[in-house]
């Protein structure tokens, strides 16, 4: 045994432990002291138990010891020996945080100091010692006040009538806390199985104060196609399990989501990245072949061309499939918000309902990692500045409990994430007053949309008071900057008194960029489409020279500095006069710049390649890509060019 190096298992242990903590946290937040769901408690207990086990095995005694206490407490709750109260849940949440801290220290190789968690440990111990009281809540869990035992045995031809037992079971779950047991006795062997017949029967224990009529209503459509019995549940503790052949399929209604362990494997991201790179090369090679084949005589080379078009299809499907392996559901970020909102709402004394919509929407792992901070900021903003206090809300005739909605969806090649609240909304007057106070350019004639944009100006903060939660003056401008750094955009819509909605639009992956290719001399450059405002062919009278040095172009009522890309990058060859070229208006950090290029080539999605891997960073260049003909094109870093150019022009 001594020869086995346990340290190589450490990484897995830590990964799994952190996942376990996430599960514990989410479950604790879902736990309602009024109506305790035993499966939720079991889940929390199991997570704690495996962390304890792992910590013991790998010799993290402090962690194991602390978790043991936690586990004991959870075990008592699980067994119904102890009621679960809101303060208990708070305590458990704090214990989860402490445990996360301990694990992080251990992971980073630090010595775990049990002293740091001593106060919490004492609290847990005290809670344990003071326990033993079995109040009514626990009893209620064991002995339902009322409920129904339903035996639902559809006839084999149920499906023929267009009914689906699953829908019925789901409807039952919505009525109350349903324990559903599936009876597979009638199931024939696989060979004899008729997939169009129903062979299953269910026994459902439905707890809650539900009228018999409500239950019967659910079965209204299938009454004639099944054997149905609805009997009142007798309040006897410990329901006897009905026979050994009964298999529990749906354990408990709301928490029935399988963890999906067996359906997924852990793969190092480096392997996936290598795969994505290889597929990228394949796509380029394929494009090269396609280009070569376009010169061939289609009559003589029919078979070859057919093969090539098949290759084209397959490579594209393959690329999509490989790209999707890096995709994670946005739930990975969303799942932290119930906790954030829970804590914040408590701190601010507000009542908040958090709604998550579209958690299953997938996007690239690297994007997920980077949107977490901006989103947290937005959610905090909504809670702190957006939502009113319960009294204010009541006075405004609104529900005392505010709603914050996080919504994710796909739109084209983008993911759109919305953070919306039904709070007080932005006040146009206040914003304008604040902006002029801060010396930010604004006027009364600005449209609402333009006024909302003021909030993204650097140094702008609308909070009347700086609070602990948000509003330290680094605000929305940082959010906007971070989102733009990801190639995305931020929009804001608001109605006074009705709420505010911030919409973030992001590319699905950082590996691909929507680009506009432009020609300068013989070179092709890629401009990120997100930075391009418009492109135009200027008239000679639109061009003005300023103080003999810089050149500006007049676009509508604005003078925009002009930058010939040819001179900037010292591309060989004679420069064309501006009015014979194309100007591409780009914007970054609120500054506009007109880039003078020779031609617009087209719009395309490009795969971003690193220039730094084998070379070094080049000013004004964010990366490179490979064009269809195999040549390399450089991707311009608009933010940097704008910064350097405006500085050069200002000097």
């Amino acid at each position: 045994m001594a020869s086995i190096d346990l340290s190589r298992f450490h990484r897995t242990f830590f990964e799994e432990s952190f996942e376990g903590l996430d599960v514990m946290e989410a479950s604790l937040l879902a736990l309602d002291p009024e109506q305790v769901d035993s499966e939720t408690i079991n889940g929390i207990f199991r997570a704690a138990h495996s962390i304890k086990g792992g910590a013991g095995t790998f010799g993290f005694e402090a962690i194991a010891g602390f978790t043991h206490l936690l586990e004991t407490l959870l075990d008592e709750m699980r067994a119904g020996k102890r009621a679960i109260t809101a303060p208990d849940i708070e305590l458990l949440l704090r214990a989860v945080d402490a445990l996360r801290g301990l694990l992080a220290t251990a992971r980073d190789g630090g010595a775990v100091d049990p002293g740091t968690v001593e106060p919490l440990r004492a609290e847990l111990a005290q809670c344990l010692a003071g326990g033993g009281v079995v109040p009514q809540a626990a009893e209620r869990d064991e002995v339902p006040a009322s409920g129904w035992r339903i035996r639902f045995a559809p006839k084999p031809e149920l499906f023929a009538s267009g009914n689906d037992p699953l829908l019925i079971l789901r409807e039952l779950q919505q009525l109350g806390d349903a324990t559903i047991v599936c009876d597979v006795d009638a199931l024939p062997s696989f060979g004899e199985l008729d997939p169009e017949s129903c062979h299953l029967a269910w026994t459902i224990e439905l707890r809650g104060e539900i009228s018999r009529a409500a239950v019967a209503d659910v079965f209204a459509w299938v009454e004639d196609d099944c054997d149905l019995s609805i009997a009142a549940l007798t309040p006897t503790p410990a329901q006897p399990q009905s026979g050994s052949k009964v298999e529990s399929i749906v354990a408990s209604a709301p928490r029935a989501e399988p963890r999906g362990d067996s359906a997924s494997i852990r793969v190092a991201t480096a392997k996936i990245d290598a795969l994505i790179n290889l597929v990228g090369e394949l796509v380029i090679t394929q494009a090269m072949l396609q280009q070569l084949a376009s010169h061939l005589d289609p009559v003589h080379n029919e078979a070859l061309l057919q093969g090539l078009s098949q290759l084209d299809r397959n490579t594209r499907v393959l690329q999509e499939a490989v790209m999707s392996t890096r995709m994670l559901p946005v739930d990975a970020v969303f799942s932290r918000f119930p906790r954030v909102v829970h804590d914040l709402a408590g701190k601010l004394g507000k009542q908040v309902r958090l709604q998550l919509v579209g958690e299953g929407t997938e996007l690239d792992k690297s994007v997920i990692e980077k949107i977490s901070d901006p989103l947290t900021h937005l959610v905090r903003n909504s809670l702190d500045h957006g939502l009113e206090s319960p009294d204010e809300r009541a006075a405004a005739g609104k529900d005392g409990c505010g709603t914050v909605t996080l919504k994710a969806s796909h739109q084209g090649g983008h993911i759109v994430i919305e953070v919306a609240d039904d709070g007080r909304g932005l006040s146009r007057g206040k914003l304008l007053a604040k902006a002029s106070e801060k010396g930010i350019a604004c006027n009364e004639q600005m449209s609402d949309a333009e006024v909302w944009q003021l909030i993204f100006a650097p140094g702008f903060s609308t909070a009347a008071q700086v609070t602990d939660v948000s509003g330290r003056g680094v605000g929305m401008d940082v959010v906007k900057k971070n989102i733009q750094a990801l190639g995305g955009s931020v929009e804001l819509a608001s109605r006074e008194g009705a709420g505010t909605r911030v919409t973030i639009r992001l590319p699905l992956t950082l590996a691909i960029l929507d680009g506009m290719s432009v020609a300068v001399g013989d070179d092709i450059y890629i401009l990120p489409l997100s930075a391009v405002v418009e492109s135009l062919q200027p008239q000679p009278e639109q061009i003005r020279r300023v103080a003999g040095e810089g050149t500006v172009v007049r676009v509508r009522n604005e003078y925009v500095p002009l930058l010939p890309v040819k001179d900037w990058f010292r591309v060989p060859g004679a420069s064309r006069p501006p009015h014979e070229s194309i100007l591409v208006l780009v914007e970054a950090d609120g500054h506009k710049l007109a880039l003078q290029v020779d031609e617009l080539v087209g719009q395309q999605q490009v795969v971003i390649k690193s220039l730094e891997a084998n070379y070094k960073r080049v000013a004004g260049i964010s990366g490179a890509t490979i064009l269809g003909d195999g040549r390399v094109a450089l991707i311009l870093d608009i933010a940097e060019i704008v910064r350097l150019a405006t500085r050069a022009l200002a000097a």
């Binding site: 090369e281 070179d523 010292r570 084998n614 070379y615 070094k616 080049v618 040549r631």
Partner: protein, 165 residues
């Protein structure tokens, strides 16, 4: 990736020989990844003349230097025979343009002489020695040192510690 950069073998005596103008040069074969025809190079703005730009090497962006321009040869033409030696040094891939590649030669320790002092006019910092085979003379280049030189900056300078992901 046949030439692992770490495995720089001090005893290595196999050299890939190439010509620049009328002279024959040699580089440690373990640092050579492959040889390719000179392809269309994409210029990088604001770089010295001898850095020709970048090429696409099967999906990887690789910088290309022209050794002839770096060593101040007057003639640096690009024709059908111009080739690139793709070097793999310290996990970085760099292309090097030369006039032509000749062959691979084995040199024993006694065949290698120290580089003579040419005086200030010729840069001998990157020459490790001269190899003599019959009546031919090979100029052996310390390619790693060349790429680490400040004006190239193709490899991190300093002590060879590579800070790369």
């Amino acid at each position: 990736m046949n030439a692992s950069a770490e495995a720089v073998n001090a005893e290595s005596s196999e050299f890939l020989t190439f010509t620049l103008g009328a002279e024959e040069y040699g580089v440690d074969i373990l640092k050579v990844q492959e040889i390719r025809r000179y392809d269309t190079v994409t210029r990088i703005p604001d770089t010295p003349d001898f850095i020709k730009g970048v090429v696409n090497l099967r999906g990887t962006i690789v910088p290309v230097i022209d050794l002839r321009q770096k060593l101040k040869f007057e003639r640096a033409e690009y024709d059908a025979f111009t080739v690139m030696i793709i070097l793999n040094i310290a996990k970085r891939v760099v292309g090097m343009v030369v006039d032509s590649v000749s062959d691979v030669m084995q040199l024993s320790a006694e065949q290698i002489r120290p580089a003579p002092e040419f005086g200030a006019s010729v840069d001998t910092r990157f020459i490790t020695g001269l190899g003599a085979i019959d009546d031919r003379m090979l100029i052996l280049v310390d390619i790693e040192k060349l790429l680490r030189s400040p004006d190239m900056a193709l490899l991190p300078a300093a002590d060879g510690s590579v800070t790369q992901h």
